[in-house]
């Protein structure tokens, strides 16, 4: 009769055995050594062993195998090489562990992986609140597939804006509350930017295909800023003169820089030269300031703004 034992306990004993033994073991030897922890029937024991092995591999423990020849032809041996799964000692100082602890407590990423990394590095999760926090939450059902593919340079497959994309992810960027993937889009045959939260459904990762990232690739420069978005269009007018009231002028100056300032008025309001080649992006930017901003010139852009407003008032 097999001894009554939980799967967790059996897995611990299996791993301890494989780690402890210096020679590879066959399933027959494993069953013998574990002393009836596996079921009596060969078939049931094999099934249970396969389940344990798969679960351990899933945890990042590489169980190696080799099929024997000669007298034992066909029999498989199993072993674990500790150096393949154990973390080497990084010799972190107490100060370094504390610095990592504070970083993990301060930055919110959405999952518990930061805390798990801390524990493995011998640190502790900070249980008291910090005076600073930063939220760059990457909370998405595809997070682990995407980050894994980016780190290991594997091609991603996903649906985006109604099309199937195959993308070699060159990098990832977190900016203004969104995560972006930048990569080579095989459909468009060009480098493209994708917002992670706009990916439809599940992401697939190719196992085999690896790619190289262009040498000059710069992840921050690859994602257009709001300023660049406003300029990226085919509108007839490329810039507009926008008067921004004193209350919001500092923010606009901060965003577009001093070079965008045309004139400071005495009441504190400021005239800016703002790109408007992409009129829909320009509209979103302009109306975010509600009545605190006004297009002064050119006439055609001003007329367009007035027309938008009239349509809204008319309920169109």
């Amino acid at each position: 009769m097999p001894v009554k034992i939980s799967q967790a306990e059996r897995m611990m004993n299996l791993l301890a055995l494989l780690v402890d033994r210096t020679r590879p073991l066959t399933l027959r030897q494993i069953r013998q050594d574990l002393g009836k922890q596996y079921p009596d029937s060969d078939e049931a024991a094999r099934a249970a062993f396969e389940r344990d092995k798969a679960a351990l591999r899933e945890m990042g423990i590489p169980i190696e195998t080799k099929t024997l020849g000669g007298d034992a032809a066909g029999e498989v041996t199993y072993w674990v090489n500790r150096s393949n799964y154990e973390l080497s000692d990084l010799r972190l100082s107490d100060d370094e562990r504390l610095a990592l602890q504070l970083a993990v407590a301060t930055v919110r990423l959405g999952a518990q992986h930061g805390e798990e990394a801390l524990w493995k590095l011998g640190g502790e999760r900070k249980l008291r609140p910090t005076a600073t926090s930063v939220n760059i939450g990457l909370v998405d059902e595809n997070t682990s597939a995407i980050t894994d593919a980016v780190m290991k340079r594997r091609t991603l497959n996903f649906n985006y804006k109604g099309e199937k994309r195959e993308v070699d992810p060159y990098g990832m960027l977190s900016r203004s509350g969104f995560w972006y993937i930048i990569g080579f889009d095989h459909l468009r045959k060009d480098q493209r930017v994708f917002r992670v939260d706009r990916i439809d459904g599940n992401v697939g990762v190719s196992e085999a295909r690896a790619f190289t990232t262009p040498v000059a690739f710069n992840v921050a420069a690859a994602v257009p800023t709001e300023k660049q978005m406003l300029a990226a269009g085919d509108g007839e007018q490329t810039t507009a003169v926008v008067l921004v009231d004193a209350a919001l002028a500092a923010g606009v100056r901060n965003e577009f820089g001093d070079s965008a300032v045309i004139r400071d008025r005495t009441d504190g309001s400021v005239e800016f030269s703002i790109p408007c080649a992409n009129m829909s992006a320009f509209r979103l930017w302009l109306f975010a300031m509600v009545e605190s901003a006004e297009v002064l010139a050119p006439e055609s852009v001003r007329e367009q703004v007035v027309q938008w407003l009239e349509e809204l008032v008319a309920g169109k």
Binding site: A16, H113, I199, G201
Partner: protein, 349 residues
């Protein structure tokens, strides 16, 4: 098709997200856990055993808290580990972990004394978090965090180099971070776009935080005698006052804006304004087909009437207010206010 998980909880939760986040998929708050799988328990033990062996003795209650387990779960796992080991399973061949007098004790390492390698997800998390923390204003770029990151670097897959986080650069963040740690009161001049008014206040900074590309400060406002959250980019002047208050720890859940009572609205969103559904959290969502168009009716919390007016303007005709009735004409009114400005100023320069 990926569907966003709507915030089902209270208005409190959605209010928090509303200001906070052009939301991605919101994560479900973990509810009551079911029984833990064998894999979960073993994974946990493979993390906890090296951790406790390094420390030798830790209080059961502290260790349970550290690992997000109940004390009963932790005891159950450690009791199981204590009977595991290698053949012949004699006492000296078992994992040497036991509990005594409220303490977990692990003195003689046998197997499982070294932690598992960091997974890709863990490497991603720790490097991104450290990289982000190093960008905080005033961070010591040559301090222990940098050297820790350098020691982890050799473990990183090559693709990690091109993962970057950008924090917004906002004036006064550094000073306010220092104020949060010193307790020194500050005078601020603050502009509120909702009231279109500037006000001067004396605040004691409690927490400085970044969310969705903006910096905020949570503080005691000595004028109103209330806890308030201010957007740092709307602070126009900041002066230290020279009076110091005792430091008070603030949990995120206790931040005042999270508990503000927010009005709720129901909006009908046309396909042209679908970005709204992607960008803001909603409490509920109903997909409808009206006149051959796929529209979405969403119910969301708003921070102010001004905020909703701004949203309606930006959405153009793509959004209609269904409820409450008093906001039905808000988009028109907001457009009319701006139109009046254009009419008053006459022609362009």
């Amino acid at each position: 098709m990926a569907t966003k998980k709507p915030v089902k909880k209270s208005a409190k939760k959605s209010a928090k997200k509303l200001v906070k986040k052009p939301v991605k998929k919101l994560v479900k708050k973990p509810g009551r856990r079911g029984p833990r799988s064998a894999a979960q328990r073993v994974t946990g033990l493979l993390v906890m055993l090296p951790w406790i062996m390094q420390r030798k003795r830790v209080k059961i209650s502290a260790m349970a808290k550290q690992f997000n387990l109940t004390e009963a779960e932790l005891i159950e796992d450690l009791q199981m580990a204590a009977v595991c080991g290698v053949p012949p399973y004699t006492p000296d061949a078992l994992i040497d972990v036991y509990m005594d007098n409220g303490m977990v004790i692990a003195e003689v390492p046998l197997v499982f004394s070294r932690p598992l390698k960091l997974s890709t997800a863990e490497l991603f998390a720790i490097s991104v978090m450290a990289q982000t923390a190093l960008q905080l204003p005033g961070a010591n770029k040559k301090g222990p965090l940098s050297t820790a990151l350098a020691k982890i670097a050799p473990l990183m897959p090559s693709g990690a180099e091109t993962i970057k986080v950008e924090l917004p650069r906002t004036r006064f963040v550094k000073e306010l971070l220092e104020a949060a740690n010193s307790g020194e009161r500050h005078e601020i001049e603050y502009f509120s776009p909702a009231s279109q008014k500037r006000s001067t206040r004396i605040i004691t900074v409690r927490k400085v935080f970044e969310d969705a590309g903006r910096w905020y400060v949570a503080a005691d406002d000595h004028q109103s005698r209330e806890d308030r959250v201010f957007r740092i980019d709307r602070i126009e002047h900041l002066t230290a006052v020279g009076i110091f208050d005792a430091i008070k720890e603030v949990q995120d859940e206790d931040l005042p804006w999270f508990s503000q009572k927010m009005p709720q609205v129901t909006l009908r969103v046309e396909p042209s304004a679908r970005w709204i559904v992607e960008s803001y959290p909603y409490i509920s969502r109903v997909n409808n087909r009206i006149n051959n168009r796929d529209v979405v009716d969403i119910t969301m919390s708003i921070t102010s009437e001004h905020w909703l007016g701004r949203l309606l303007l930006r959405a153009g005709g793509g959004v209609k207010v269904l409820k409450p009735v008093e906001y039905r004409n808000l988009g028109k009114q907001s457009a009319q206010t701006i139109l009046d400005r254009y009419k008053k100023s006459g022609t362009s320069i």
